[in-house]
Symmetry: C2
Subunit: 207 residues, 2 copies
Amino acid sequence: MHTGEAMAVKGGGDEHDRGRDTRSRLRELALKLFAEQGYEKTSLREIAERLGVTKAALYYYFKSKEDIVRSLVEDYVAELDELIAWGKAQPATAATRAEIVRGYLHIVASGTEVFRMLHQNQAAVASLASAKERGELIRERMDALTDLLTEPAGTLRDQVRAASCLMSVSYCCMRFHDRVASAAELEKAVLDVALELADAAPADAPA
Amino acid sequence: MHTGEAMAVKGGGDEHDRGRDTRSRLRELALKLFAEQGYEKTSLREIAERLGVTKAALYYYFKSKEDIVRSLVEDYVAELDELIAWGKAQPATAATRAEIVRGYLHIVASGTEVFRMLHQNQAAVASLASAKERGELIRERMDALTDLLTEPAGTLRDQVRAASCLMSVSYCCMRFHDRVASAAELEKAVLDVALELADAAPADAPA
DNA sequence: GTCTATAGACGGATAGAC
DNA sequence: GTCTATCCGTCTATAGAC
């Protein structure tokens, strides 16, 4: 599914498995710490220590701290871009919108930990050079997807529904990820709610 | 509405107004920078410079950088706690849930910039000492409110709806705050969508 | 209330040996 | 591939004069 950089994040595993190659362990641990403690609070010294190597060793694999994040995120950004490109080429029907929601859910669900990191470090990640070059990574993509979920002549309420729909997907995937028995069950519940929001029922304001 | 610490964040105003007292200007500028650039990326040096004073002067007003955040946030946390306490004392009816959503919207809308800061710096703020003492500030409150919006025997789908409802309110208030003509119009649209999610229509899954 | 000066720690990053 | 050693910048915070 991914091009090779990304891998599943092992659940309970810690950093004492010297067996695997350093690069994988480094990526895995960095992702975990960035998501848990924050990007700026996590120093390369801490990563190196817990990995059982020195800081200098990290620079053999990544040219900078920021480069680690880039490596963690790039595949998912590419998937979002694919989805957006596909959506733009489709007719703006309810069926297309549903398919976009499903696609977005699929992407988020396959990279929960990465999206958790992005969500918890928005300010820090946004001010990364690679983020600025490539268009703020997340924000622009969310805007594009929101547009695709909104009818051309959409009202503010429709835009709110569309934005809520996407936010609901990413937020709930992260929030309930560790509180639920089966991932499939969660995805189904999230999809249900998101599709409701995306379908934008004509005009029956209940308030 | 607030106890005196909080004040409205002036819109376009910058930092060149030496007229007002330093403490207010400090709080205002810090909030702006924390929200825009992130808590960790914003140094006291930068705040002091743009304020036209020295770093040392800041320590006359706040005993630490973290203390500035505490001062910015505490009133809103108190309001959330009030809402939660009120909700727990009410019968678990649909009317109560609607009132909780309205209350939450009101709190968020009255402190958009503060919530934007919290949202953009979740990892950084969560690892603050004051956050750990007082129970992670936001996360626990969101959990409590989600519970109040969910029937005791709620399904996962109901929990997802409740979580989406709250997230939708805070996220959309922030996201559309500067893209909309009137704040009242935005609040109405957000409330519409949120109430739909909170009412948790019985069982008509559209998928 | 605000300043100058500085302590003291920690951060990312690099050079060069092995 | 990994290490030792080190550079240099920045940060929070404090002491003490005015």
